[in-house]
């Protein structure tokens, strides 16, 4: 009986001592929306995310585990996904730039970025996190006032293996 008690005690002790936690770190890219964008309305014919126009630039974060395996491709909007009926043209302009970096070696990203149409590409050559802000501006007709209502547009953030 005494031996049995000792055996049981040993068995329970062993169970309590050994707990394994397994993890696997693999190459990957994680896209995380960080800051909500807001359009300001500095003049009747303009909607802009620029803080000086009363807006907020949307910010998205890219995390990469291994360097030089992905590129970030960010597209500023060229149409509204939701808006009142508009009967004139809307002219879109925009810009994408880094707003914060987790490693000082990422400071060269802006100088090396590639821009075409509404697309901006950054090679993610350094491991870590990079925050990109997307500025966009919509101008309506020739000095026409935007009609009242809700305006919504979509920023596209892509992480593409290279």
């Amino acid at each position: 009986m005494k031996k049995l008690v000792i055996l049981l005690f040993c068995a329970f002790s062993a169970q309590a001592e050994e707990m394994e936690v397994v993890g696997n770190v693999a190459s990957k890219c994680v896209v995380t929306p960080d800051t909500a964008g807001v359009y300001g309305n500095p003049t009747a014919d303009e909607l802009s995310t620029d803080p000086t126009d009363g807006g907020v630039d949307p910010i998205v974060r890219f995390d990469v585990i291994q360097a030089s395996m992905y590129k970030a491709r960010i597209l500023y909007p060229t149409s509204f996904s939701e808006a009142p009926a508009l009967n004139d043209t809307v002219v879109w302009t925009g810009d994408v730039a880094t707003s914060q970096v987790s490693d000082t070696s990422m400071s060269g990203y802006d100088a090396a970025k590639v821009e075409f149409d509404n697309v901006t590409e950054f090679n993610l050559t350094v491991t870590g996190s990079t925050w990109f802000k997307t500025e966009s501006k919509a101008e309506y007709g020739y000095g026409k006032a935007f009609p009242g209502g809700v305006y919504r547009a979509v920023v596209s953030a892509e992480c593409i293996a290279i």
Binding site: T32, P33, V155, S156, I160
Partner: protein, 122 residues
């Protein structure tokens, strides 16, 4: 009037989209002439429930593929393995396998960041 005009490029709080592996390999499936690869998607975006999958060549043209559903539902913090099937004759064409968040852009939805992650078949 301004309260209606001053709107929105909304992105919701801390949340993320992951799609792995970075470099998937095509393997032989149980169907003759068909290859497959297994991908894993992790949805940490509270504001997104559906993801669309696509297969593309080097020029970003669509390549035919099959899977259980090309648009799948992922609950918040759900991780799922998805098998993607490609014809063996298209093997040389396949370069990118992508997942893209599907946005609800009407009603009360506030999502306005579309995220897409593409892996590369080497």
């Amino acid at each position: 009037m301004y309260r209606y005009l001053v709107l929105l490029l909304t992105i919701s709080g801390a949340s993320a989209h992951e799609f792995t592996p970075t470099y998937p390999k095509l393997e032989t499936s149980y169907v003759e002439g068909v290859l497959y690869t297994s991908m894993t998607l992790f949805n940490a975006r509270k504001d997104v429930e559906y993801y669309e999958f696509g297969v593309f060549n080097a020029e970003w043209e669509k390549v035919p593929f099959a899977m259980q559903n090309k648009v799948m539902r992922f609950k918040h913090l759900e991780k799922k393995k998805v098998d993607i099937y490609i014809r063996e004759k298209d093997k040389e064409e396949v370069v990118y396998i992508c997942s893209k968040s599907k946005l609800i852009v009407t009603g009360n939805a506030k999502t306005s960041l579309s995220s897409r992650i593409c892996s590369k078949v080497k």
